[in-house]
Symmetry: C2
Subunit: 230 residues, 2 copies
């Protein structure tokens, strides 16, 4: 009887924490993420996933319970690693506030590039979510993102080179809005007739342009009126 209770408690504790995932599970999650981000969650059937991951349809219910819970597992897995990466950006010690802005922009964009398919899926699904686990995950991440901007702004204000009157939430809106917009509409601006190789270099170039633009723009805004007062 005692063992039974312990088993239940362990199960409940395990539910929302990192689960040990075997190779097959990871294979399904990886391929499912690919298809989800390409076709959208609702337009993707479990048979699409099964075919893409080269497993039997029943394996999805067997391992994850349902298509919905598979999505949750993917989110838990990916959002976890993304949050850890962003956490390290927040705590990176840089004494020069200007340098901190550069570092923040470069590193955040790199994180998105590394998690591109997941980022696309998240961008798409967040618009629909009203409640549930996924809503909570995304809300948490947005809060973390806000902190990312906040620490950089406060550091610059403390050393007197950034102006005092900064609306952090609006600055975050501009920062994440610009980046999300870039990644979700890039294919509308690029030339799809060129070779795959050319497209890659074009995109690397565009990424550099984006990074540089954000740096210049934010520095202009953050220091607006400061140099004139001297």
């Amino acid at each position: 009887m005692f063992n039974f209770v312990v088993a239940i408690i362990n199960y409940l504790l395990l539910m929302d924490t990192e689960q040990e995932l075997n190779e097959k599970q990871l294979q399904i999650m990886t391929k499912a993420l690919e298809v989800f981000s390409e076709k959208g969650f609702d337009a993707t059937s479990v048979r699409d996933i099964a075919q893409s991951a080269d497993v039997n349809v029943a394996m999805i219910s067997y391992y994850f319970g349902s298509k919905e819970k598979l999505l949750e597992a993917i989110f838990l897995n990916r959002i976890g690693s993304m949050k850890a990466r962003i956490e390290s950006i927040i705590h990176s010690r840089t004494h020069d506030p200007m340098q901190k802005v550069d570092l923040l922009i470069d590193n955040y964009i790199d994180v998105i590039v590394e998690n591109r398919t997941f980022h696309l899926l998240m961008m798409r699904e967040q618009v629909l979510l009203k409640e549930g686990k996924l809503y909570g995950y995304i809300r948490d991440m947005k809060q973390q993102n806000r902190t990312l901007i906040e620490v950089a702004v406060k550091a610059g204000q403390k050393s007197g080179i950034f102006q005092k009157n900064i609306d952090v939430s609006m600055l975050a809106m501009t920062f994440f809005g610009s980046i999300n917009h870039f990644f979700s509409t890039y294919r509308y601006v690029c030339d799809s007739n060129t070779s795959e190789q050319q497209q890659e270099t074009d995109q690397a170039e565009a990424l550099e342009k984006l990074k540089n633009h954000l740096k210049v723009m934010f520095k202009a805004f953050l220091t607006y009126g400061i140099s004139n007062k001297k």
Copy 2:
């Protein structure tokens, strides 16, 4: 025989131009747009639409041919009126470039507010589209949006109060990215516990903050380095 050919030509011409829509068709389109933007296109069934619009399911196929073509009809209808509104912003004669920036920001955001549900739907679906009519519609609109930014920037550069080194496509990325991000994630930041009335005033306040922030930020960026050179 001749009449037959004329009929076909008329039909083909009518396909991509403004169609005369009766009341029932408009009713279906309006309600369908509501449900699409709330649940997403793929997650919405034709029976959902029929129930919401208070018509028989068969009416959707009868009037529009298919669920897909209903979406196309909605896009053709809404994107048309939105493009016309944006066109008028582009051609609005304002001699002061600074004033032009203010006008552009205020008016564009107002257009989105007026077409909020459609804007949400478009934001969501654009991520998935690779080809087809809708892809073309959105691509056209994005081109128009770019022009919106371009004319304002060039006007300011001509009168010498904006700096010469401006990347229009990146500025557009920041502008539309910020606004889209605001409208697609606003509910993540607002307090859902307050009354509906309170939420409306909160949102009006947030909209003013957004407008003001964009004005200040863009002016800082556009005039960056100009005042120092004097």
